[in-house]
């Protein structure tokens, strides 16, 4: 049983939570422009990382809020809990390492740091909407 620190309620048993799969999977900015292959990637393909994995959890029998968590999928150690819309804490450094940082389609809406409602203008926010994802 995992002991999960809900950012609002504190430490609670795993049974109070609902798993939401991989975090930081943005809804396509222009869905109509995607071909079948790209849609398949969005709908069916998720990272299946062995090691540090950023994932979404819902405190369903508590505050009923979604949040992100960084957890090791081998040791199950919880490394960080952070808000939806926030960037991965272990990849915080915004600029330096040339290509790598940008490859991860990060944070629910490209907004770099600001929690939620990033002001990027475009409507496709749906920021916190859990897309049903994996299960």
């Amino acid at each position: 049983m995992l002991l999960i620190s809900c950012p609002n309620c504190g430490s609670r048993d795993e049974t109070e939570f609902h798993y939401g799969g991989q975090a930081h999977v943005p809804y396509p900015e222009n869905p109509a422009a995607l071909d079948d292959r790209q849609w398949a990637q969005f709908l069916f393909y998720r990272d299946n990382t062995k090691g540090a994995f950023a994932e979404r959890w819902l405190h369903s029998t508590g505050c009923r809020q979604w949040f992100n968590m960084l957890r090791d999928t081998v040791t199950y150690e919880i490394q960080a809990v952070y808000p939806m819309g926030g960037g991965r804490p272990d990849r915080a450094a915004p600029a330096p390492e040339s290509g790598t940082a940008s490859t991860a389609p990060d944070s629910t809406t490209t907004g770099t740091a600001a929690p939620d409602v990033s002001g990027t203008g475009t409507g496709s926010a749906s920021t916190t909407a859990p897309e049903g994802a994996t299960e």
Partner: protein, 405 residues
């Protein structure tokens, strides 16, 4: 008395050092990898091949499943491949010359709600049309077949009936692996244990070799049979799979006199139970919700399945858990496997069998060997291609086919 298990010879296969090159390399020495190698050698004359296993032979999910074999799937594509597997199970003990205690004691899938009843009857009809033996049992018939089941209406989800497949059953999973391994070895296949794959050699988009903890091995073709670690290998090779790896737990009780004559599965209260040949009760349930590679899960999942078991089988209330464990299962979104080609030339993948791969072992081996040898899929695995996630031709067995395994 419980059954005695057969004796084994001390050595069933050699432990060769890897050669510099092979015609094909199978990654993963579990049931599927060994079955693939066996059919490559037997059906396609490919004997200059190797099976690479990072740990010990059949030490992953092949040693961790609950050994249930059945073919009562809803959709035509699934019924075809699983029924073919069942037919192979029926002839393999003789073909492999190895009694791995395949026991066709039947499998019952309980219905607890009106929705269950309708789905079950529909599935029985679909099964019959596909030549799969299936029947619908009312609660009294359920009780006659399995007297220890509680069919009273005093429980939260009373038994409203069940589907029954008489030809289904269980087998000794480790013996199955040893049976395949011995035959592979006889046919000239190199089975190499403690040999972890760490990367792939590619020439353009074509795989030409495998980097391992025992050195580099050149090969014409690579077949991945790594279940829960399929995504890790695919990433090394440069492509993605629509797989999520989850822990799936199971447990056994201490040994008891035979009390449970068949296999009972319940999707709704979520437990499946059989009694192994030696006498232990073998139980499994669903996966842990989170992704995991740790070969263990959370205890509340076990607690939930035990609650279900005790409600259905009051006689189990005083049985003691002897051992619990977990395996890493490779789940897909349509709960159907992926067997076919990959975006990398000459690399093939057999994965996504999720929580129910054991029953499919012979058919996975047969069709995957065909795919590797000829470069294109067998009729049975053609629908299970990776491309179905793009075309939308999913084989949606989630909930359709009593999909708890």
């Amino acid at each position: 008395m419980a059954d005695l298990l057969p004796e084994h010879p001390e050595f069933l296969w050699h432990n060769p050092t890897p050669k510099k090159s092979y015609d094909a390399v199978i990654v993963g020495g579990g049931g599927h990898g060994l079955a693939t190698a066996y059919f490559l050698a037997k059906n396609h004359g490919m004997t200059n091949i190797a099976v690479l296993e990072k740990g010990w032979l059949a030490g992953g999910n092949m040693a961790r499943n609950t050994t249930i074999i059945r073919s009562n799937y809803l959709w035509d594509e699934s019924a075809a491949i699983y029924e073919h597997a069942l037919k192979l199970w029926e002839i393999l003990p003789e073909e492999l010359d190895y009694d791995f205690l395949f026991s066709q004691r039947g499998v019952m899938n309980l219905a607890h709600t009106l929705g269950d009843v309708r789905e079950s009857m529909r599935r029985v009809g679909a099964n019959k049309l596909n030549g799969v033996d299936a029947e619908w049992l009312d609660p009294q018939q359920v009780k006659e077949l399995c007297p220890i089941l509680n069919i009273s209406d005093t429980i939260r989800y009373p038994v409203m009936g069940a589907t029954y497949q008489p030809r289904a059953g269980i087998a000794k999973h480790d013996h199955v692996a040893w049976a395949f391994a011995r035959k592979c070895d006889e046919l000239g296949v190199d089975i190499i244990q403690n040999c972890e794959v760490t990367g792939f050699l590619k020439d353009g988009n074509r795989v030409v070799g495998v980097k391992t903890s025992q050195g580099t091995i050149h090969t014409e073709k690579v077949g991945l049979c790594a279940a829960g670690h399929s995504s890790v290998l695919a990433e090394m090779a440069g492509f993605r799979l629509p797989i999520q790896s989850h822990p799936l737990q199971a447990l056994v009780s201490e040994l008891h006199e035979p009390v449970h004559p068949t296999v009972v599965m319940s999707n709704h209260v979520h437990v499946y139970v059989s009694q192994a040949h030696k006498g232990e009760l073998v139980m499994g349930a669903g996966v842990d919700a989170y992704n995991g590679y740790g070969q263990r899960g959370s205890f509340h999942v076990i607690e939930h399945q035990m609650a279900a078991a005790v409600e259905l089988f009051p006689i189990f209330a005083r049985a003691h858990v002897l051992r619990t464990w977990g395996g890493i299962v490779d789940t897909t979104l349509d709960a159907s496997p992926i067997v076919g080609t990959t975006p990398v030339d000459n690399m093939f993948v057999n994965c996504g069998w999720g929580t129910g791969g054991f029953k499919g072992t012979p058919a996975a081996g047969l069709t995957f060997a065909h795919t590797i040898a000829t470069g294109s899929p067998h009729a049975l695995n053609r629908p299970f291609a990776l491309e179905r996630f793009e075309t939308g031709a999913l084989i949606d067995e989630h909930g359709a086919a009593a999909v708890a395994h």
